[in-house]
Amino acid sequence: MIIVNLDVMMAKRKISLGELSDRVGITPANLSILKTGKAKAIRFSTLDKLCKILDCQPADILEYEYSEDEMED
């Protein structure tokens, strides 16, 4: 399971959801979907912008956690 730690990075950089969404170029609704872990996929372009604005690595935003509910494809 992929955990999104966007709220942690936003708190560290003291940036609000509205401001971050403006600078990334996506709607606050979409950013909220990502922040609350409801997103099913993220584009590399979006991840690139997030890392640039938050001055961090993808691993600072995305974390993998083993879950017993995961099914092998």
């Binding site: 996506i26 979409n30 950013l31 979907i33 990502l34 409801k38 997103a39 099913k40 996929a41 993220i42 584009r43 979006t46």
Partner: protein
């Protein structure tokens, strides 16, 4: 997502008109079925009262039973068309409604199979209903997959 304009596509108008016409026809059949059956049995048996009396009740019961899935299918079709009009095509509701339509058609095929004992046309209708039910199941699978793809797309940031 509602339609940007209030104009319905031509295909949707035709579908709605056909569904409304079917609904009216089914209601008319419900009311006039005994009279139609009387007329048909008189014609087939040449006025044989014993033939009419032995066959009328079971055929009438089967024909009224056949109307139940039709009512359900017409209601399902109206709801599906409403979904299409409101732009809610690739939703779980639409997938469920197509599944219900398929079940109604399969139920109709079973009733037609029993009716084929009295009318040879019943066997033909049974096969046609089986084919249509299978086609609807395939369409349901396609719409279900499209719904999954759309959900994934909608939640791609």
């Amino acid at each position: 997502m509602k339609n940007q304009t209030n104009k319905l596509p031509f295909a949707t108008i035709i579908a709605m008109a056909m569904t409304l016409l079917t609904a009216l026809l089914v209601v008319a059949m419900t009311i006039f079925l005994p009279s139609i059956l009387d007329f048909y049995l008189e014609y087939v048996s040449g006025g044989n009262a014993s033939y009419i009396s032995t066959h009328k009740t079971p055929i009438l019961v089967l024909l009224y039973a056949a109307l139940v899935p039709v009512y359900a299918a017409v209601a399902g079709l109206f709801m599906l068309l409403s979904n299409v009009h409101c732009g809610r095509v690739f939703t779980r509701s639409s997938v469920r409604l197509i599944g219900i339509l398929s079940a109604c058609v399969y139920a109709e095929s079973v009733i037609c199979a029993v009716l084929s004992r009295y009318f040879i046309l019943g066997a033909v209708l049974c096969f046609a209903a089986l084919l249509l039910g299978t086609l609807l199941l395939v369409v349901r699978s396609v719409i279900a997959q499209a719904t999954e793809i759309k959900a994934e797309n909608d939640f791609t940031v």
